[in-house]
Amino acid sequence: MSGINDFVVKFATVNGSGSASANTIFAKTLFRMGIPVSAKNIFPSNIQGLPTWYEVRVSEAGYLARREGIDIMVAMNPQSYQDDLKEIVAGGWLIYDSTLPRIWPRDDIKVLGIPIAQMCAGKWKDPRQRQLFKNMVYVGALTALLEIDMEVLKATVSDQLKGKEKLVAANMDAVALGRTYALENFECPLPIKVRTAETAKGKIMVTGNEAGGLGAVYGGATVCAWYPITPSTSLPEGFEKHAKRLRVKDGKRLYSIVQAEDELAAIGVAIGGGWNGARSFTATSGPGISLMSEFLGLAYFAEIPVVLFNIQRGGPSTGMPTRTQQSDITLCAYASHGDTKHVLLFPSNPTECFSMGADAFDLAERLQTPIMVLSDLDIGMNDWVTEPFAWDDKRVYDRGKVLDAKGLDEFKDIKGKDWGRYLDIDGDAIPFRTLPGTHPTKGAFFTRGTSHDEYARYTEDGVIHARVLDRIRRKFDTAATLVPKPEITTRDKSGKVGLIYFGATAPAVREACDYLERDGVRVNACRIKAFPFTKEVIEFCDAHETVFVVEQNRDAQMRALLMTEANIAGTKLVPALNYDGMPMTAAFVRGAVLKTLRPAQAAAE
């Protein structure tokens, strides 16, 4: 598996030691050499002192899922030495700080000791600098071992530390220390190394949360309220960062953002803004959805547009706040008591966090309901090499069915009926709404979570209650025609084996399907982008005898949704479930498929 432009490096460090910046510089440099890389930050729910890891997979072929089997381990944390050592593949390399030399209990790997602490102590006097620059020393050693383009590295360091020229020089000194040591003491380069490539040219490297925040700016959001929670926090922060630059006119802000007192208030503010005609959103993670559920039911029943980004993490309860999962599917699909059902979007990468993030506001206003964008920690917080963001300047926001004063005056003439807030005039189950302050005598109504008739009047009449509920359910059929269609990859037109996946598992599934094809198993794949399911998803299930459903949760939540909402027979839906909190690997997906289709081969492997 490993070779030139095809290997995995893992950095094992202590969190809070400044390693994150050095590791990012390393990954970004390779990306700028045109090589596709994926960087997975595996960090503790802690600020300082605990083990943290950063895995960088280098793949000129563009396989960007996480891959197990570490080729080069940079072991900088004695706390995790033992486990880190085990992860190295036979024939791999271990780089460690040999200031305190050590005998490693493996003879099938090559140990490259660098007296990093000693070198830093000789170079810098300030203890903080001695600690900080250790990280750039190992990056320096890797430049020699992997033949990294020094010009590209220097440019990356300069960009990262823009405006801090002194720091750039000091960092490059540290790089030189490590590089010189490696050149003098090791055989450089290693047989696995990098070389300039074309595959990543034109792409961008960004986290899904920054992309989602930017999507909200482009989607026209003007009201944002949020409450800090990992791993969603960086999304509203990304919104604010970009809005500060892009949405200020004559010194005044064309947006508003409030850090709320809790998630209940955050969604309340967003709903209040949506009710009053502003594009409004909040962002949270699992526990936040639990807290927001009451309000989501109100927005569903009172039909108020609002956008919610859920950056999923490991549950249940507080679970694993710094690990990834896709385990809020059921929760979000049916959030709140009573009969509720919500529109969900499933971005697979930061590019889609941007585009779906923006589209969500159109959908929310068109459908007058909460739209939830279900990303996760892997997409949200890790740097992905992805397609650049694109925007059509001809695009005008779809503000949905909102009546202005003229619209209210002319309503009866045009539609043939008096306006009623919850009256389905067009047959698409979407009524017309009005905003406060529109007309002196027309269009006022009382928004409520209590049962109401078509004219927004309170009711305890069961017939009316059921009629309104039925109409809101029909709105879901309209939603199914508006949400994005799945991405279907056909490898065998008459094939009977299908695979359904969504979200962050996309790179692992694509890679696994390539491997399976080499194994002689051609699998057609369908990436779901939204709930409710569009007809293409149902047709895909119908066209295949066996459909694997790949997801990162224990209870096969998407599979259950397919059975309940699309009436797909459970017998043909084979769950392929991973829920250990780590990003999905191709090996897992391939293994899950082979276990069912070729049990003998799977067992032998």
């Binding site: 955050a266 503010v269 502003a278 409004s280 905003l435």
Partner: protein, 352 residues
């Protein structure tokens, strides 16, 4: 069915305000609260205040939570949009609505359960955010809709109708509001419309967070002889004379001659004035420590100090703090909101 439309017919000679509207135009549907409920008097005071202020009803948004009090917005201002949200969450809904459009008048109606228990956090943070709104608590010391349980504002010395002892101290929302930095804090009594109407007008005119705690007896569950929130108790213990207030609307000229040193006039942002009297004898409502002391001294005597308790003459509201555009954010369209592809190219370039 607990929704009753009021007949629209009314006497042709009803007085009209500057907008040509009658009081009836500011009413809502028929109240379904118990006969004699204090909340209905507050509803009437809100109607009267808005009518007399010539407010265009459609420029008002009325917002509430859950409970008897929160049903009240149905009974006034039928030409205004209303939002009966979820229990204790009126402040967050109003925050979002206000962020979206700062040009409307926001009247929030809540109860003692809605504000002092389930919504205490949201109440505190709405104050902290200096939300430009009028926040009225219809305070009866009990949960009416669930049949009379104690609320958190019920006094410790006030047992239930069945004689059950209230084991916990009551929360004084006015003291809290002052401590949290509300710019306008008043207490009143549903049975004193001469005091309540000018207070509501002044609160609406105030730019910033205006809070009015209105003692509003629950005739069904908390109006017995041992209750400290009954009509009789409040009538006997109301220190309404503490701070008499005149609210002078912008169209009126200040003609009354006030003795120097005994009164103060505070201009509101809409051109109206608050005239405070008896500063020497009562407390100076411009001083928050004085205000807190007056409330506590009164409470120690078993009295309820009503009137304007505190006013901060210079308060920024949320939009001042957030530094938002002069236009309401909900009026901005695609060209203002979308930075376009060229800006995006620049962002893409920085991410390469």
């Amino acid at each position: 069915m607990s929704y009753i439309q009021k007949p629209v017919a009314h006497h042709p000679a009803l007085p009209r305000n500057a907008l040509g509207l009658t009081r009836r135009d500011y009413e809502g549907s028929m109240s379904t609260l118990c006969a004699g409920c204090g909340h209905d008097s507050i509803t009437a005071a809100i109607i009267e205040a808005c009518f007399e202020m010539d407010l265009p009803a459609h420029r008002i948004a009325k917002v509430s939570g859950i409970g008897c009090s929160s049903k009240a917005p149905t009974y006034f201002l039928s030409r205004s949009h209303g939002f009966n949200s979820v229990h204790g969450r009126m402040p967050s809904i109003t925050t979002g609505a206000n962020m979206a459009n700062k040009d409307l008048v926001y009247i929030g109606v809540s109860g003692d359960g809605d504000t002092a228990s389930i919504g205490l956090g949201q109440f505190c943070h709405a104050v902290r955010r200096r939300l430009n709104m009028t926040y009225i608590v219809m305070n009866n010391g009990c949960y009416g809709l669930t049949k009379g349980q104690f609320s958190a504002t019920n006094d410790k010395a006030s047992p239930s109708k069945k004689g059950e002892v209230n084991p916990f101290e009551g929360i004084d929302l006015c003291q809290m509001a002052i401590q949290l930095g509300a710019g306008f804090v008043a207490r009143s009594f549903s049975g004193d419309k001469n005091q309540l109407i000018p207070l509501i007008k002044a609160a609406i005119s105030y730019k910033g967070f205006a809070f009015i705690d209105v003692i509003s007896p629950c005739v069904t569950f908390n109006n017995h002889p041992t209750s400290t929130k009954s009509y009789d108790y409040i009538r006997a213990h109301n220190m309404a004379s503490e701070n008499p207030l005149d609210f002078v609307e912008s169209k009126d000229e200040i003609t009354v001659d006030y003795a120097a040193g005994t009164s103060a006039s505070i201009p509101m942002h809409d051109g109206s004035h608050l005239v405070l009297h008896k500063l020497g004898e009562g407390h100076d409502p411009r001083n928050s420590s004085d205000a807190l002391m007056a409330i506590r001294k009164g409470a120690a005597k078993g009295s309820v100090v009503t009137g304007l308790l505190y006013v901060n003459e210079e308060q920024q509201d949320l939009h001042d703090i957030l530094d938002t555009d002069a236009r309401p954010l909900n009026t901005l369209q695609t060209p203002d909101l979308c930075p376009g592809s060229k800006a995006l190219d620049g962002i893409n370039a920085r991410l390469r």
